[in-house]
């Protein structure tokens, strides 16, 4: 299995190289000259040529790509135009917020979707099944940003029980340790800060997780439906186990394998979904940073973020591949 995973990991290298080439070419296909944009209107040809030589923009494209890729490997994407700081450190300060949001979304989605899916699947065509199926359809059809806006409208606007935006109330959070506010406040035993972080994260996490919830619920339901007719389930019933035990012990544990696949597949959707949900809730993560960078035409930062997201996505897929073998003992690489 280790050799299989090493092979898979090595196989991603050409893919990552090709991705970096695509990103590089996209930037160069962009209309407008970045030097003119940076130097402003009041400039002359000599200055432009000097600036181009300084940034290496006068070299042929293949050489520029080679320089881009050699520094990108070390995580160096240059300096952000907007923040005047290295791109990597700007991204580093924003990443924990996005990871925290993604994790809470996954927790909400799986905690609701799996029981609902198992329940619906074990009683096909009952009222609970109809309710679950409708809920699943509702989840996959709901655009996350609209759900976010509606949650703000109802929970923050009308009922006024949750804050509309941001990660915490000013002055409540303690000093940063990990950058994950929930974890930090628990480590510092600061219950007020933990509650504050929880109220801030709830709406964006729910909006972000709703789509995954719908898909997971549907997948769990169909996986349970399929497993319910396996012979070992009949055997478990025949030996007199209570239906509850049959469903939750024998069926669920076997039905979870496709569910894990889907969690992995949906992580990518979750990552890109975070871009839009973070914008709705002014969540200070890497997703809203990407939109800020795009609007400011901050190309080094955009490139750095796109590469970070993509590498993360590739790595996640690799981990999910490895997880199959852990979850399903029948799979041996």
């Amino acid at each position: 299995m280790t050799s299989y995973l090493t092979q898979r990991a090595l196989g991603t290298i050409p893919v990552l190289l090709l991705i970096s080439l695509v990103v590089f070419l996209l930037i160069h296909a962009a209309p407008g000259d970045p030097t003119l944009m940076l130097l402003g209107e009041e400039t002359n040809a000599a200055e432009v040529a000097k600036a181009k030589a300084r940034w290496g923009l006068d070299r042929p494209l293949p050489i520029q790509y080679l320089r881009f890729i050699t520094s990108a490997v070390t995580g160096d994407f240059g300096k952000s135009f907007k923040y005047a700081e290295p791109v990597s450190s700007v991204i580093k300060t924003r990443l924990p917020a996005t990871i925290e949001l993604a994790i809470v979304s996954i927790i909400i989605a799986t905690l609701l979707a799996i029981p609902l899916g198992v329940w619906a699947g074990s009683k096909p065509n009952s009222w609970i099944d109809n309710l679950g199926t409708s809920f699943g359809l509702f989840g996959i059809s709901m655009p996350s940003f609209w759900l976010g806006i509606m949650l703000i409208l109802v929970l923050a606007g009308i009922l006024n029980i949750l804050p509309t935006s941001g990660r915490s109330t000013y002055g409540v959070a303690g000093p940063e340790i990990t950058g994950f506010y929930l974890l930090d406040s628990i480590m510092q035993k600061n219950s007020q800060a933990a509650w504050d972080a929880l109220t801030h994260i709830f709406m964006p996490a729910l909006a972000l997780g709703m789509n995954m919830l719908g898909i997971l619920m549907r997948v769990t339901r169909s996986a349970v439906l399929e497993v319910m007719n396996e012979e070992y389930v009949v055997a478990a019933r025949a030996k007199g186990l209570a239906e509850k035990n049959v469903v939750w012990r024998h069926v669920t544990s076997n039905a979870l394998i496709p569910v894990i696949t889907v969690v992995g597949l949906e992580l990518g959707t979750l990552l890109s979904g975070s871009i839009i949900v973070e914008t709705v809730f002014a969540w200070p993560g890497s997703g809203s940073l990407l939109i800020t960078a795009l609007n400011a035409r901050d190309y080094p930062l955009v490139t750095g973020l796109v590469m970070t997201y993509t590498v993360a996505f590739v790595i996640i897929n690799l981990i999910i591949d490895g997880l199959y073998a852990v979850v399903d003992p029948r799979i041996r690489y």
Binding site: L137, S141, P143, I149, S222, S272, G273
Partner: protein
């Protein structure tokens, strides 16, 4: 293996499928009704809209919905533009983008998939590498990047959405083409001296239509959401064209004061996508039970 399981389900519990049928019927009817009205509104568009969607009426800013028969049935926005007219015009953009994306990506995906599966070897390797690279981008991110660097516009938007949507077709079609090329009727056509092009066009592709139709329905739902997302982020169509996404983006600052601004365009996206998903579910159950696990396309 999946179709085998399905047979065992039906053989062990007779009546399961019969009991499912009325529900299937409801799904198909509701879905088609929603999709047909979406198409009708999209095509009629300007004729159905009571007012010019871009006409600003500064004396009637942020008017709440006034109900049927009044001047502004669904109210007006911050510039006094009629919400109902804008929503109707928005349907047109969504419809155009969705159909164009599904058609173009279907064309690319099915042809590449059929070629990849039928020829195998080097061609297959190259196409599958391409699939791997494009699929390695998180969905939507590639679209955002393309739009950011190529600029706003309807054509670029369609291009950005097609960029990844041809892949589900390509993958499924490749798998089916792989098995189809071993089937008797294909071998027979080969023996009769049919050219490769003829075999692919006349014998392989017609057998892939049903599956592609199901994938296409889910691709349509996902491209409507993606179009709205890109427009919402400000990298979709130019701001002078009213779309559901841009309406939602404009509505963001008025959430607490004017609930009707975000409610109606969002509801339109939700109901349309729900309708397409209902139809897709029904189509899948009828046409291709093997696809149950595939779920909606991204």
């Amino acid at each position: 293996m999946q179709s085998l399981t399905l047979e065992s389900v039906t053989s062990q519990s007779p009546g399961l499928l019969t009991r499912l049928r009325p529900w299937l019927h409801v799904k198909a009817c509701t879905g088609s009704l929603i999709v047909l009205s979406f198409i009708a509104v999209g095509i009629l568009g300007p004729a159905a809209a009571p007012l010019d969607p871009n006409k600003q009426e500064l004396t009637a800013m942020l008017k709440a919905p006034q109900g049927i028969g009044a001047a502004h049935v669904l109210g007006t926005d911050n510039l006094g533009r009629d919400i109902l007219s804008r929503v109707i015009h928005g349907a047109r953009v969504s419809l155009l983008v969705a159909f164009a994306v599904v058609f173009v990506s279907g064309l690319i995906g099915v042809s590449l998939g059929a070629v990849s599966g039928y020829f195998g070897g080097k061609v297959d390797f190259l196409i599958q590498k391409l699939v791997e690279v494009v699929w390695a981008f998180p969905p939507l991110l590639l679209g955002i990047t393309i739009m950011a660097f190529l600029g706003q516009g309807l054509f670029n938007l369609i291009l950005a959405l097609v960029a990844q949507r041809w892949i589900p077709y390509c993958r499924v079609v490749r798998g089916q083409a792989l098995s189809l090329r071993e089937r008797e009727f294909v071998v027979a056509a080969q023996c009769l001296g049919a050219s490769k092009r003829r075999i692919i066009l006349r014998h392989i592709i017609p057998n892939l239509v049903q599956t592609s139709l199901v994938i296409g329905t889910f691709a349509m739902a996902s491209s409507i959401i993606a179009e709205a997302s890109l427009s919402f982020l400000g990298v979709g169509v130019p701001p002078e064209i009213p779309t559901w996404g841009t309406m939602l983006a404009d509505a963001r600052i008025y959430i607490s004061t004017a609930w009707w601004l975000p409610l109606f365009p969002g509801l339109c996206i939700f109901i349309t996508v729900l309708g397409i998903n209902l139809l897709g579910d029904a189509l899948r159950d009828i046409l291709d039970p093997r696809l149950t696990r595939a779920g909606p396309g991204r």
